[in-house]
Symmetry: C2
DNA sequence: TATATACTTCAATCATTATTGAAGTATTAT
DNA sequence: ATAATACTTCAATAATGATTGAAGTATATA
């Protein structure tokens, strides 16, 4: 699918981010990271899922640029995750731009018998 | 997964909506509906996909409450789709609430050797 | 050096979802 | 009534993604 979109939002990137977040456990992990939870063990404990699965989901979130990683400087075995604020801001902008209700255009259908004109919800005067 | 979330956003509903929209063709269909395109044939023409597939995706969008349907009053064979503004507003609210950068809490890790304290990105003073 | 810890990666399986083609429905035109 | 139109539903397949268990990596402790 080539970019035949006259719209500023990068649809490919938006779809990708939505897909990554549209998974219950991943969204829960993201939520916990927002709440300030940081390491695999704590996340797994909190959500009652195996560490390797947490690891997998964090990898997906990292690959999407949504999450950062850091190793502890005293004991590098411990790994801390956090929200990537830059990507979060980009995502918020892309989302609100794309799903802005003001974008909805009250265009008339170009096909059909045109009997529709006065009945489409968009054209109707809203109370 | 029970609702052990102290957060106002309905995570189940948000995940569901994200999942429905996290599909390239569905997001494109949604985009076209925002642009004022209305019927199956026009959508299929525009995106170069078979009408039954358009139909399928529109069914998914309808089941999620994101899209409305109407039949033409002169020739009921023609079907017109449009954005459900109510659901769109709910979605916008849920999304912006959940992904609000101000939600990020600079909590310290409760596990690990605590050598991390001064190095986590959240704690660091941002320039 | 041997063992433990904390996590990651890999390969395989299971589940879900998208896609396709064919049949079906409802409506209108002839 | 018959045929055509516009779209929908269904059943089957293909593709994708989540989950699991085992092996692997890196680091730290005894």
């Amino acid at each position: 699918m080539t970019s035949n979109f006259p719209y500023p939002t990068n649809l490919q990137s938006l779809t990708m981010h939505l897909k990554v977040l549209a998974e219950p456990k991943r969204l829960q992990i993201f939520h916990l990271l927002m709440e300030g939870v940081h390491c695999n063990c704590e996340l797994g404990e909190s959500l009652q899922i195996a560490p390797n699965l947490i690891s997998h989901h964090l990898r997906v979130l990292r690959d999407a640029g949504l999450v950062n990683v850091e190793n502890d400087i005293i004991d590098a075995r411990w790994v801390y995750y956090s929200i990537n604020k830059g990507t979060l801001n980009e995502l918020n902008k892309a989302f609100t731009d794309f799903f802005d209700p003001n974008r909805i255009k009250p265009r008339l259908p170009t096909c059909g018998p045109q009997g529709n004109i006065i009945h489409l919800e968009e054209i109707a005067v809203k109370t």
